[in-house]
Amino acid sequence: MNTRRRQSLVANPNACTGCRTCEAVCSLIKNGAISPDMARIRIERRPFEGEFVQGICHQCSIPYCLNACPVEAIGISEKIGTVLIDKDICDGCGQCEAACPYGVIVMDTEDEKACKCDLCNGKPQCVKSCPMNALGLVVFGNEVTR
């Protein structure tokens, strides 16, 4: 048992307009090209209902991805409590992707390894870029984690 200072994205789907700026900036920063498939944030667009819903990594208190990983490639950063994947250890089995209830683990098409939201080291670019202020960053207090 130890304590963890947790931070996480929060999303307001009522404000989202489905413009996908967050996906663009995320994939550009993390992968060097714009590719919504590779973004660590997902926008589900339902244009005929006017519903646009953000799929964000919640940096779970008890991370499903971390628990699913058979090779212990997923850990929690000490600095800001983010759930991180160590690409050197990851063997690309995809079990974390299958385990994530929010569908925000993506498999990198180039090296075939898993990747996820790392909160841009505490300064998430998606939050900064959202024209509707539909995304935010919350800092929780210390949490007890396993």
Partner: protein, 640 residues
């Protein structure tokens, strides 16, 4: 030093539906001279669309073109441009353009193509599916005849929710000259009748799957920073509020307060100008300014009741489902009312419930009769000017609502000299490309704080951009030609990148004390994306080149100096104030009651030709002008 490159997908896809073949052309053939979007489409149209080709001929091409900034992080990069021989232009079918927002163009680039050239005529109805190298032609039997919403839902059921679709409704199938191409609930390509061109080719839809594809950016870090900077500079554009009820009259605001669920937007937009509306018992959809064309008649008929609101909303949704242009309807509604009031139209012969003008029954009958070409609808489906020629005495009232080229009034040409020139010199309603000028010279000066612009601040901006304060003085035709040429060049650049003209050029910034914008934004964003530095002046030169190619196409199709004009009534008619305001159909009421002074107008036109380097007698670009713009081949063909 040559670094990473980015921007273009490097391929143009040609789809010939006659023989169900595809061909891939390297984008670089056109992009070097013409950037992308409107520019490359103009280059292709010059090479491939002959003057004698009719809009509905198999030889006509419909070019769907994105640009190097499409789908990048540049604000407002969700748009694309469609170019082809238009059935809607008047008096002749000529090549023109029509923009379209949304997400389809971005998906196309992710699928690996900068543009699609759609050509030929299928032997039976079909739709095209594009997924990288895989191009499929599918039978459209099950969706032909269906509205645009049903069509898209069926195609998404089949190919996946993530695909993007452009399609036509029954109006396009029936070759209505006022048919649109539609994506999602209300991203539409209107005014140029391109829906009917798709219909003539028997193409119901183009479905694109760009999954896994990417858009390359040469300098990602630079682009992220620039995009953030320009989002901040653009600030909170009041257009977002306008579509949620910012503009007068008050009943717009009440409607939105009751029914707005949120906003919707094109890809990568900082503005988010569509309101998303849900009215009981009707389809929900996004809506834009011109879509309220039926609001006043409906409220006059019902009052602000649920029934009235439903009539308003049905007029919007049914237009988009059937694939009819709401801008055309914005002209039809007051014109048909005027014809009816003057005894030139009656219920029996028209088949329209004219005594119930303003009712839901009236608008439903009108839209359906046009779509299915029943009764007078068959004539109206030809578009306003052609209908005015066919209906007895209808032309006598027609010109009040259509200033030039047969297109619906969009900002009064009589109120604003520069806008009159823009209209006269274009192939279609130009104002959809010139919101920046209009906002600086007109709209922002009327908006309340905090979005308003004091006249002195507007004049200072005008001086900085056009070198003169007179460029936005509506009392005179002096100093307008230069501003008009500048705005046209910039619009050619914006439509080629492709960015949204609601955001660019950034003439005015709401986030700056002095309200000064930054007209170098496009060149800086382009440099970051492509990795090749280009400055503002060079980009303006590219815009000038593109404008001259568009002009060369018009000249080849018979455009002359005499045709660079407005309908005659604008130079003759004197109105009362009340009449003037009635004639304006597009949100901003006209106030100018006097006719345009023809001498002043012609003098400004001559100044414009001089600035352009066009022959003062013929309005054709001189050989020297074209050669300076690196268009020697066009000079040879045009003059040789």
């Amino acid at each position: 030093m040559k670094g990473k490159s980015g921007g273009w997908a490097d391929k143009i896809l040609r789809i010939d539906v006659s023989n169900r073949r595809k061909e891939v052309i390297p984008t670089v053939i056109y992009s070097g001279k013409y950037l992308g979007g409107l520019g490359i489409a103009a280059g292709i149209a010059w090479d491939e669309i002959r003057p004698e080709t009719g809009a509905f001929d198999a030889d006509n091409k419909l070019i769907f073109a994105t640009g190097p900034l499409t789908g990048t992080l540049a604000p407002g990069s969700g748009r694309m441009e469609i170019v082809g021989k238009s059935p809607r232009t008047f008096p002749d079918e000529i090549v023109t353009r029509s923009g379209m927002g949304g997400h389809w163009g971005v998906e196309l680039k992710r699928a690996g193509y900068d543009a699609v050239i759609l050509q030929g005529e299928a032997d039976s109805t079909l739709y095209v599916y594009i997924d990288g190298d895989n191009i499929e032609f599918h039978d459209a039997k099950e969706i032909w005849g269906k509205d645009t919403y049903v069509t898209q839902k069926r195609l998404k059921d089949k190919h996946g929710d993530h695909v993007q679709v452009v399609c036509i409704g029954p109006a396009g199938e029936n070759r209505s000259r006022i048919a649109t191409i539609v994506s999602e609930t209300s991203f539409t390509s209107g005014k140029s009748g391109f829906g009917a061109v798709m219909g003539a080719k028997k193409v119901k839809a183009i479905v694109v799957n760009g999954s896994g594809g990417q858009i390359r950016v040469a300098r990602p870090g630079r682009l992220v920073n620039l995009a953030a900077h320009y989002r901040e500079l653009l600030g909170y554009n009041p257009m977002r509020e306008w579509t949620v009820g910012y503009s007068p009259p008050d009943y717009h605001q009440r409607f939105y307060k009751k029914y707005r669920k949120g906003n919707a937007s094109c890809f990568g937009c900082t503005l988010q100008c569509f309101a998303f509306i849900k009215v009981p018992e009707l389809d929900p959809a996004q809506v834009h300014c011109i879509n309220y064309y039926y609001m006043k008649p409906a409220y006059d008929f019902y009052g602000e009741t649920l029934e009235g609101d439903q009539a308003v909303w049905q007029s919007v949704v049914l237009s988009n489902k059937l694939g009819l242009c709401t801008f055309e309807m914005a002209g039809f509604i007051p014109w048909l009312k005027d014809l009816s009031d003057n005894g030139l139209l009656d219920e029996k012969s028209s088949g329209l419930p004219l005594t119930k003008f303003g009712s839901r029954e009236f608008i439903e009958t009108l839209l359906e009769n046009i779509t299915y070409r029943k009764g007078i609808g068959d004539v109206l489906a030809e578009g306003a000017p052609r209908a005015a020629e066919m209906l007895p005495d209808a032309w006598s009232l027609y010109e009040k609502y259509y200033p030039a080229h047969g297109q619906t009034e969009h900002n009064s040409v009589r109120d604003y000299p520069a806008i009159a020139l823009l209209w006269a010199l274009d192939s279609r309603d130009p104002m959809i490309d010139h919101h920046a000028y209009r906002h600086l010279a007109v709209s922002r000066q009327r908006w309340p704080e905090p979005h308003g612009l004091a006249p002195e601040a507007a004049q200072a901006v005008s001086e900085k951009i056009f070198g003169t304060r007179t460029a936005i003085d509506h009392g005179t035709y002096a100093e307008k030609a230069k501003a008009v040429a500048y705005c046209q060049n910039r619009s050619a650049v914006i439509n080629s990148l492709v960015l949204c003209d609601f955001l660019f050029p950034i003439f005015v910034s709401q986030s700056r004390e002095d309200r000064m914008g930054d007209t170098a934004a496009e060149s800086r964003l382009l440099s970051a994306v492509t990795g090749t530095d280009i400055d503002e002046e060079t980009l303006n030169g590219v815009g000038e080149r593109i404008w001259n190619v568009l002009r060369a196409i018009m000249v080849r199709e018979g455009r002359t100096k005499q045709k660079d004009t407005l309908h005659p009534t604008n130079f003759q008619r004197t109105d009362t104030k009340e009449e003037a305001s009635q004639h304006s159909v597009a949100i901003i009421a006209a106030s100018h009651t006097q006719p345009i002074d023809r001498d002043e107008f012609e003098t400004a036109k001559a100044e414009y030709y001089d600035i352009r380097g066009w022959d003062p007698e013929t309005g054709r670009a001189t050989r020297d002008t074209l050669e300076k713009l690196d268009l020697k081949d066009i000079a040879d063909q045009l003059n040789g």
